[in-house]
Symmetry: C2
Subunit: 213 residues, 2 copies
DNA sequence: CAATTTGCATTGCAAGCGCTATGCAAATGG
DNA sequence: CCATTTGCATAGCGCTTGCAATGCAAATTG
């Protein structure tokens, strides 16, 4: 009989505050990403977020303060994820062409996903609300991460700083454009791959003559 | 004395209903574009629109029914404007390179402006609200206009239909991406021009070997 | 000219939104 | 074990939003 009692109490798992906090925050942030992707920013109300997260407003309030607090947390999380994704690229001993491939494909994993969409829509909304730091801080941090990875992956390429910057921006524009098309509900995987190939070709052409191979 | 009376009544200008309608609609549509560009979609409330237009809700209600009606009218207007802008391209007797130049620059006039931003944000919101026809109709009409102009301008280019379609899409992606960056408040004219040059180069490279010159 | 139609202004309302405040539950630390 | 802190649920509120309804002004028509 005590064996049966023991088994029952093991089911009520005691969790630390840190664990509970992490899980609740995770649920809320994921709910935002899911909601924006599904019903757009306008319909992603505080009520919708907590409904999707399976918590109540009290929990969100406790952890994030208000709706903007939630949205800012989503940006931070997304940015961190983006940077880690790019940092993971293992280009050791590969050709220039292969490196470009890896770089673009990995970046597209980010731009093509629900996470980027939520980031984009949040930033767009912030830009519309006031021209204050939230968006420019993220933009700047993202650019820095982008450049840092670029410098690492193409360290052997002798190219003017100005030109490198332009190519970085151009790549971001293409990826953002592709993502935008996707957001508007018109997506075709093969089309995306073909377009990615075009930007890869542009990069290859620009960088190959300056590469030590 | 009758001369003075005559002069006075000339100041109260009688306008036809058609004139009044056209002006009121123009004001409201322009107000939407202005508002979205200035404060974003979320803050572009019905109240904000009529305030900027200098009319009252009754006028908007009469002409457009509801807020969605206004937004759809903005899309129609923008699409028409886009098509006319592209139709205006005079490429007679110019080189391939020059034609690409004209095409991209004219298109950027559209994508880089407040009008496209409002279109984009409206479509994005519609996509988030329901996956119904409004956005796919415009997307499709816009693609058709784009292809029609492309075919006219590059009529001498022998290129596979599939490849032409890809290049068209790619161009739209770049332009959309540039526009997005602008929407997020980070714009630099020279950077934009440099990026446009890159896409022009890509087009030129792809099309020149198939051109009769 | 008068009746009718169209254009526009005003008022008020139902619903939704973000979030303050309060209180109970769960975990922590002494 | 108990006091304290942290996590979360609930209730309610003020404000905003979109828009239905009504009535007056301006243009049109016969």
């Amino acid at each position: 009989m005590t064996q049966a009692v023991r088994k029952h109490s093991d089911r009520v798992q005691r969790r630390s505050h840190a664990e509970r906090t992490a899980e609740t925050r995770r649920k809320i942030i994921d709910a935002v990403v899911d909601s924006i992707s599904d019903v757009g920013f306008q319909n992603t109300t505080a009520a919708e977020i907590v409904r999707r997260a399976g918590v109540t407003w009290g929990a969100a309030q406790h952890h994030f303060g208000d709706k903007d607090g939630i949205l800012i947390a989503v940006l931070e999380d997304s940015f961190g994820h983006f940077a880690r994704r790019l940092d993971d690229i293992n280009q050791k001993g590969t050709s220039l062409e292969k490196r470009i491939d890896l770089f673009i494909d990995r970046a597209w994993e980010h731009f093509g996903g629900a996470e980027y969409r939520s980031t984009f829509e949040i930033l767009l909304n912030f830009a519309g609300s006031d021209q204050s730091q939230p968006e420019s801080v993220w933009q700047s941090e993202m650019s820095q991460a982008w450049q840092r990875i670029w410098t690492r992956i193409f360290s052997d390429v002798q190219i003017k700083r100005q030109r490198a910057r332009l190519l970085q921006q151009y790549t971001v524009s293409v990826l953002t454009g592709l993502a935008s098309t996707q957001m508007l509900g018109k997506a075709n995987t093969q089309d995306n791959l073909d377009q990615l190939k075009l930007v890869k070709d542009t990069l290859y052409r620009e960088l190959r003559d300056q590469s030590k191979k």
